[in-house]
């Protein structure tokens, strides 16, 4: 369970271009199920997702993960939590150019020092589940949008994380591929993983995979009957 308490995030503090992206958000996300952060561009979805995924620290407020306080942890521990607990799927996929899909999938596990053969087998199994076996040795720039998206999903899953975070995952996909993505999320949810998706695409937040929608606007959560 992730609990956010009165989270604020300010960029460029004390500068003329100071900008408050999150204005006191309090939110609890349960360990199972799929949550969608919905809202227009600039509503603070991505910033909140970064804070949830331990990629950024809030300016103020507290975050706990399964009752463990994260806010004051040193960077090293945050990185370890990010690597072990979260699988992140970026809007632009953020795959590394010039290397194969297989290598891209294996990269998050490199710092763990796992045996190469075992790691490669795990990566191949994931690519197989996502129908990418024949693309394993293709360089990232040769992949289609859907294939790149699935490679990014495989990369997010390589360390077997409990929580999957996806930022605007369907922004660069057509309708069929967007639906395919949500089907993959359905399978992961069924495996017991927590899914958190930030999106303003109805195919994503409107899917029956999503159990709960949190609507955001101007850095705040829009109150609704659905909120805790």
């Amino acid at each position: 369970m992730i609990r956010l308490q009165d989270i604020r995030k300010v960029f460029n503090t004390d500068k003329p271009n100071e900008f408050v992206a999150i204005k006191g958000v309090t939110l609890t996300i349960n360990s199972e199920g799929a949550t969608a952060l919905k809202g227009p561009s600039g509503s603070g979805k991505t910033t909140l997702l970064s804070i949830l995924g331990c990629m950024a620290r809030p300016t103020s407020g507290r975050i706990t993960l399964n009752d463990r306080e994260l806010t004051s942890l040193p960077e090293r521990f945050l990185t370890e939590i990010r690597r072990e607990t979260f699988g992140i799927i970026f809007q632009q996929f953020n795959l590394i150019k010039g290397i194969t899909a297989l290598e891209n999938v294996m990269i998050p596990a490199y710092p763990k020092g796992e045996k190469h053969a075992a790691l490669k087998k795990r990566a191949m199994d994931l690519l197989d589940v996502l129908n990418l076996t024949d693309k394993a040795y293709s360089k990232m720039e040769w992949l289609s949008g859907g294939e790149a998206q699935r490679t990014a999903i495989a990369r997010a899953l390589i360390n077997n994380p409990a929580i999957i975070i996806a930022d605007e995952p369907t922004a660069h996909l057509d309708t069929a591929l967007s639906k395919e993505f949500m089907e993959i999320m359905r399978r992961l949810k069924a495996e017991g993983k927590t899914i958190i998706i930030a999106s303003h695409d109805p195919i994503a937040f409107g899917s029956d995979v999503i159990d709960r929608i949190v609507e955001m606007r101007d850095g705040m959560i829009v109150p609704s009957g659905d909120e805790p």
Binding site: T46, T47, T79, R82, N94, K97, I107, G113, H116
Partner: protein
């Protein structure tokens, strides 16, 4: 799970990263290799020359005694031999006749030295390889060989023609390239030195520890004499080669600084693509230390590759390629250049110095900008 496996993964990734930025890295390695090649060539050549000179001087007399008149070297009276022989510890004393001869025909200075083996019959010379080549230079004739003749202009203006009886061995060319061995009678015909005088005296000493004492006794006995020890000659040679090496290094300083600027620019300026990659790696769970480890490997691979190729090429250049690039500066003997192959000699200490002055600073320089990028918040990648 092991630290070695982690290093292996990161090194694998580094190698593929280097491959992805091929043109940048090839350019860097090429320039880096060239600089190391030049530096290592100077080191190898200077060291080998010093070593070579030491080997040849092994056979030189332990002590040479000259006579000075008004601070200049003057022929030494042969009667000095008897008094010097009387000093305890002196094994033998022999007079030596030698001098310099300017050959207007070839424009070169030769060293003429008397060799007793040529006394019977007279009229013969044995010449160094440089003399043989130089006499033929600029003319459409072959270098001098056995039974060819060399004309010498004597002190009174007449011409003395001597026949070449042989060439000095190529192995000693470093110090014999300009040498001509003649008989005592022919030497005196050319230079008009009186019979009871010699150019200098060479001494054999039983115990090397007594050299300084004997030298002091000689100066006491003959205040106008100057004893020179073999070690002093060797020291002079070393100083000359070090000085010449220094001249080349000074010239190379410009090249070295140009390289530093290039390396600094290429290695420290991370491209937008590289910064993006660092952001991605952090976001997917790499620690700052993992990124720095990757950049360390990157710098180490580039500089070690350049280091080993540079050293290898320098070795080929100096020991197999006759040191063509530096020949005029390091081996110049007035207008005669010795042509010889050096015995490979590498000083591990020098190699280590070169390593610490190039590989280590380069590797450190590549880490600094990455450290700056590696400490940024990983969420920056979310906004790319």
């Amino acid at each position: 799970m092991s630290a070695i496996e982690k290093q292996r993964h990161i090194l694998d990734f580094t190698l593929s990263s280097l491959g992805r930025r091929k043109s940048k890295n090839i350019a860097l390695v090429t320039v880096y290799t060239f600089v190391l090649f030049l530096l290592a060539s100077v080191l190898f050549l200077t060291d080998s020359l010093k070593k070579e000179a030491a080997l040849i001087l092994q056979d030189a007399p332990e002590m040479t005694v000259q006579r000075l008149v008004a601070g200049r070297q003057d022929p030494i009276p042969k009667h000095y031999i008897d008094s010097i022989k009387g000093i305890r510890g002196v094994q033998s004393v022999a007079p030596r006749l030698w001098g310099y001869y300017y050959d207007a025909f070839s424009g070169a200075n030769y060293t003429l030295m008397v060799n007793a083996e040529l006394n019977d019959p007279t009229g013969r010379v044995i010449i160094g390889a440089g003399v043989a080549r130089r006499s033929a230079a600029g003319q459409d004739i072959l270098p001098l060989g056995k039974n060819d003749v060399i004309p010498f202009k004597t002190y009174d203006g007449s011409v003395l023609t001597l026949k070449v009886a042989g060439l000095l061995p190529a192995a000693s060319e470093l110090v014999t390239t300009d040498l001509i061995l003649v008989s005592e009678a022919d030497f005196k015909k050319i230079f008009a030195i009186a019979d009871d005088y010699a150019t200098d005296l060479v001494l054999k000493i039983r115990n090397a520890k007594e050299l300084a004492t004997i030298a002091a006794k000689i100066t006491q006995l003959h205040p106008d004499s100057r004893p020179i020890l073999r070690e002093e000659i060797l020291r002079t040679y070393n100083a000359v080669f070090d000085w010449r090496g220094g001249v080349i290094l000074m010239v190379l300083t410009g090249v070295f600084f140009a390289f530093i600027i290039l390396a600094w620019d290429k290695a420290t300026g991370l491209s937008a693509e590289e910064k993006r990659e660092i952001g991605i790696l952090k976001a997917i769970g790499w620690e700052t230390s993992d990124i720095l480890l990757m950049k360390f490997w990157e710098g180490a691979v580039v500089s070690l590759t350049a280091f080993f190729i540079g050293i290898f090429l320098a070795y080929l250049h100096i020991f197999l390629g006759y040191a063509n690039l530096f020949e005029p500066v390091l081996k110049g003997w007035s207008v005669l250049y010795p042509n010889f192959r050096l015995t490979p000699y590498i000083d591990a200490y020098q190699i280590a110095t070169l390593f610490f002055l190039t590989v280590i600073p380069y590797t450190v320089v590549t880490i600094i900008p990455s450290w700056r990028s590696a400490t940024i918040d990983p969420d920056s990648v979310m906004r790319m």
